[in-house]
Subunit: 270 residues, 2 copies
Amino acid sequence: MTAPELSFNQATARDWPMLDLIAGCVTAGVRYVGLWREQVTEFGLEQTAKAVRAADLGVTSLCRGGFFNEPGWEISNRRAIDEAAALEAPVLVLVSGGLPSGSRDIAAARAHVAEAVAELVPYARSAGVTLAIEPLHPMFAADRCVISTLAQALDIAEAHPVDAVGVVVDTYHVWWDDQVYAQIARAGSRIASFQLADWSTPLPAGVLTGRSLPGDGCVDIVSLWRAVLATGYDDPVEIEIFNDELWALPGAEVLRRTLAAWSAVTAALR
Amino acid sequence: MTAPELSFNQATARDWPMLDLIAGCVTAGVRYVGLWREQVTEFGLEQTAKAVRAADLGVTSLCRGGFFNEPGWEISNRRAIDEAAALEAPVLVLVSGGLPSGSRDIAAARAHVAEAVAELVPYARSAGVTLAIEPLHPMFAADRCVISTLAQALDIAEAHPVDAVGVVVDTYHVWWDDQVYAQIARAGSRIASFQLADWSTPLPAGVLTGRSLPGDGCVDIVSLWRAVLATGYDDPVEIEIFNDELWALPGAEVLRRTLAAWSAVTAALR
């Protein structure tokens, strides 16, 4: 197999200024980044696009569209698609959003996600951006993402051409699922992004920032990665970690630790 | 249908002394309690058994056996079965435990739970105690319970007679699962205990104490309850809430709030 390449997702070093992040990746020999809309907006869309191009960095994905439970999702998602296109990011990650305010009807919320994705497909295709549905761990079902399993994401994606709608497989969100290996095989070329993060306990308040670098937790990342490789996936692999301890460190140190984790897990992969 | 009866699980008022809890339930007209081994041991097994019998309270379940990832699980689970029998509790709740220390093999951990349950069945049957496998929300898969779905619990339970091994359906743990209604129907008379708790966000650190009284969160408890009733379930229904705010209140106030939540949700059930 071709050696997998790392894409450093900027959320891992959340507060690293954009130009420092870009320079740091170039220095470290990292050729791909995953970007976030908040940081891109803060630095400026055109400026970001220009800077990554000048540095010859590929943008593997833009995070994130979705949140279809919020008013105005149509406009905000079209804007996200435009931003992905401007950054030449082939993939826009969609996090569906949780239950609408006051609702207890999760089945209806899930059905609405399918409708919303279908509505966005023509716009995304004309922009050349693949919509990638990310299932989040079920602990986020209420307030962040009603799409809780890879099977649910695929049920929605499969209504569309493979280059129009794919899925994100993030080891942090799917490792507990006894169907995950079958669903990775089912996904095949629908895997638009593969992301590594590990599960550590105890979870912090709010649970968002509990994930850890590959190797620091209990997820069998190597087995999941092998299953993804078996589908023919050969795009760069993102490391995206929300972790308060990492966020407190200088960006270059976060990248250094990320590369160390990457080396260890890719060595185990062979 | 017969009006459902409440069983007050003592974890909801964790620090209420045993005799006060028993007296409080009698005063409030509550005829059933769910008990915990820690509290029973602290007050004394024989004393507890005597006190609940004297108060004419039924013990619907004893929490908990399981934790099959820990050394000595055979002895501690036999002891738990003895305690359930002494309390005339028909059901011992099993929480499987998480991954063994240092392990990343969740499939092996799940297979071990099936073996451990099988090993306990003869002892439990001779004691007249039903082992009830409780799936916990997947956010507990690493450190508390590798059995994450009702389907997994049923896969294990169905290898045994229905009076030997059943399942616990706790609305808090299963509400997110798109298979839950199908699995409740599949469970049929295997539902050895039905418990109500609601899901509120944000989750607190450690996530154990995030649940709330029925009606205070986003779980469609009424629909889940109707599905359980459709299986023919007519045992008392437990309310079991781990919540720091409730634990800070006097036990009688916790019971008062529990009864108010119970009235509201049973009214919606009709």
